[in-house]
Amino acid sequence: MTAPAGIALTGLAKTYQGRGQVVEALRDVTLTCAPGSFTALIGPSGCGKSTVLRVALGLEPLNAGRVLIGGQPPEQARAVGVTGVAFQDAALLPWRTVERNIALPLEALGRDVSPHRARIRELIALVGLKGYETALPGELSGGMRQRVAIARALVTEPQVLFLDEPFGALDQILRRQMNIELQRIWAETGATALLVTHGIDEAVFLADRVVVMQARPGRITAEIAIPFPRPRAPALFTDPAFHQMEDRIAEALHGA
């Protein structure tokens, strides 16, 4: 694995032309993620957290501000496969097998897939889907599809991992399970991760630092470091210290 790259977002500003009024989606959002760190971005619906991620991926233009991924603008970073991404709905192509869905980023990058076959098999094992290599997405459960999406995000050996509510569509039980697995996978790859989420427990369990956003205008209102040592065990979910940390974030979110 190559050395992880950091994320530097500086003074991001973005406005939409809404119905007759200008919507300020982002105002002066500045966020730096050290190489190899895990940052969670949390906030109410419509606070612009997904926009931050889309901007960081270079999928949306900015009115002001600068994005650097490992010192490069996002368009350059993604062109060399530095970034990996997983979205809320797995967004698998229904006509491609698990293997071929995982290979999609390689094809999008215009790379030859065949030298990566072994790597794809490894990834399928990593996310616990051995034996499902040639299954179609329609034959998989929601949780399995999401695992495919995670494996797909890792196929380019990214140094930076963007996760947009990757488990948002899963039920609570499955989500816990996936959180534990994601921690393991992240630790194995050593990538810099930026996770957008609704779930306070998920954020606290996974992240080194939780960044709280508020809406109208979309802005960062708090940054809270999560000190729990790693690797974090499932027992952490029931730890009183964990709940205190959740309460702190809830306060920051609801402005108590």
Partner: protein
């Protein structure tokens, strides 16, 4: 269905044997015997029709898919081509057939007409299919540096296959219909259209029925082949009819650009017309340019007489087309609604509707003449029959797609039957009703003109036929231009009402 079909055949046999409909409806056994007697005639005619429609189908689809891809990649190009697309959709093939046989030779008019019948259906299916894709998957490809072409290749194209296949399915009978119409209207020795034309004067109903049923079988088989392919390929069968709409292009272009594109889109069909004639280098006497038609319709030498004949013909054609359209749509709506209330009825009726939809109109009309005579009743019947079935299929589809959630709400509060229809199903299927109206407007005009040409000797259809006899090329081109403009105008009229109503109801047009 099998039992019903057998029963219908039996009734037909009895009616035919007893000669109940003035001998115009021969018994199935009589038709079969006649087809057997004529068996040596069929192969070359069928082969010619198959060749022309096959070539037209291939060419039309190739152009349509490439155009659809280009339109999705460059939305402004779609805006610019809008006029051409709608004109091609509204083009009554009957009117184009004589013109094509004026400027092209050999098989070319038939292939062209078959291709024209295919283009719009497949193009709009391609566009609709390419526009319906998983945005997240497209984002994903973009996030890995994939450009527009990569998104098209990796995400959109494969996702559009079902839509394109159902486009093929509807387009295939269109190609057969186009080829037969061109054979019928353009002369030539071989082809089912030519065979039909040659048999018209013989007063042999059994042969006309034989040709008509043969044409229907070919059209129906072409539909079935693609229905089978898509069912095999996709595992489930999809929509059975297509809605002729171009997705609205949401752009934030400045007003001047939109105006330019709109103007360009209106002018492009004329430019194309001009350009094609220039490329073909057809003689000026026969091939009239837009300017020549405009001159013909305005110069003091020709205009007064031309307009007198045109307006007389229009006065005969338009009212009956309008009446047929309204009756056809009304009947379709009534039947679709009652079918919803009595689902068994729809199941039994839909296959019949599909068969009739693929029945080539030219082949149908002489048979109707035999049964109904040559009065306005015939024209009305032809018009209703060409508007009713496609409208019915679309509306039944619309009613079947009413959101379940909304239905549950109605049921939870005890609304059933007619009340549920009034509250939920009818408003929810309104976009489909409009789509049906848009689809049937040009068909109504085509139906009336075919009936006029073949039977009643009145209106635009007859005027077109006469003008061919008199070699009055100015008039032929004028009728063609006028019919297309009329079709486009009616299409736009429906579209305007549709947009206004749907916007007020906060609904989107059906796709």
């Amino acid at each position: 269905m099998g039992r019903n079909g057998l029963l219908a055949l039996l009734v037909w046999e009895v009616i035919g044997r007893l000669g109940l409909i003035h001998g115009a409806l021969p018994a199935p056994s009589a038709i079969a015997i006649k087809v057997w007697a004529d068996r040596a005639d069929y192969p070359p005619h069928v082969w010619a029709t198959l060749q022309a429609s096959g070539a037209g189908f291939a060419i039309g689809n190739l152009v349509a898919i490439l155009a659809g891809m280009a339109f999705v990649l460059f939305p402004r190009l779609m805006q610019l081509a809008r006029g051409v697309n709608i004109a091609l959709f509204a083009l009554p093939p009957l009117v184009v057939a004589p013109i094509l046989s004026l400027v092209l030779e050999g098989m070319a008019p038939r292939i062209t007409l078959a291709a024209l019948g295919v283009y719009f259906v497949t193009m709009s299916a391609t566009v609709a299919g390419l526009m319906h894709y998983d945005r997240r998957a497209a984002d994903l490809v973009a996030a890995y540096g994939g450009g527009r072409l990569a998104v098209l290749r990796l995400v959109q194209l494969r996702g559009a296959v079902p839509a394109i296949l159902s486009g093929f399915r509807v387009a295939a009978p269109n190609a057969v219909l186009g080829a037969i119409l061109a054979e019928f209207g353009g002369g030539g020795r071989w082809g089912l259209g030519a065979y039909l034309l040659g048999s018209l004067g013989r007063a042999d109903p059994a042969r006309l029925w034989g040709i008509g049923l043969c044409a229907t079988a070919i059209a129906g088989a072409s539909y079935a082949v693609f229905a089978l392919i898509s069912a095999r390929l996709l595992g489930s069968s999809r929509a059975i009819s297509l809605n002729p709409t171009l997705p609205p292009v949401a752009t934030q272009d400045p007003a001047w650009l939109r105006l330019t594109l709109g103007l360009g889109s209106a002018l492009l069909p004329f430019a194309l017309w001009w350009g094609v004639l220039a490329i073909l280098a057809a003689p000026e006497m026969i091939a009239k340019t837009p300017l020549a038609v405009a001159t013909y319709l305005t110069s003091p030498d020709t205009a007064p007489q031309a307009w007198a004949r045109l307006s007389e013909a229009l006065a005969e054609t338009l009212p009956i087309a309008g009446l047929g359209l309204i009756l056809g749509l009304g009947l379709a709506f009534a039947l679709a609604v009652s079918g919803r209330l009595m689902p068994g009825f729809t199941r039994a009726f839909l296959p019949v509707a599909l068969v009739t939809q693929t029945m080539p109109l030219v082949a149908l009309t002489p048979l109707l003449v035999l049964m109904l005579g040559r009065g306005p009743a015939l024209t009305l019947w032809v018009t209703i029959s060409v508007t009713f079935f496609p409208a019915y299929v679309l509306m039944a589809q619309g009613l079947a797609q009413v959101p379940q959630g909304a239905m549950y709400v109605a049921h939870a509060y005890g609304a059933r039957g007619w009340r549920e229809m009034r509250l939920i199903s009818i408003p929810a299927s309104l976009p489909w009703a409009f789509a049906a109206a848009r689809l049937t407007v040009p068909r109504a005009l085509l139906g009336v003109m075919i009936a006029e040409w073949l039977a009643t000797g009145q209106g635009l259809g007859a005027l077109l036929n006469q003008s061919r006899g008199y070699l009055d090329f100015g008039m032929i081109w004028s009728i063609a231009t006028l019919t297309v403009l009329l079709s486009v105008a009616l299409y736009h009229a429906v579209l305007m009402v549709e947009r206004r109503v749907l916007r007020r109801l906060g609904m989107a047009a059906a796709e």
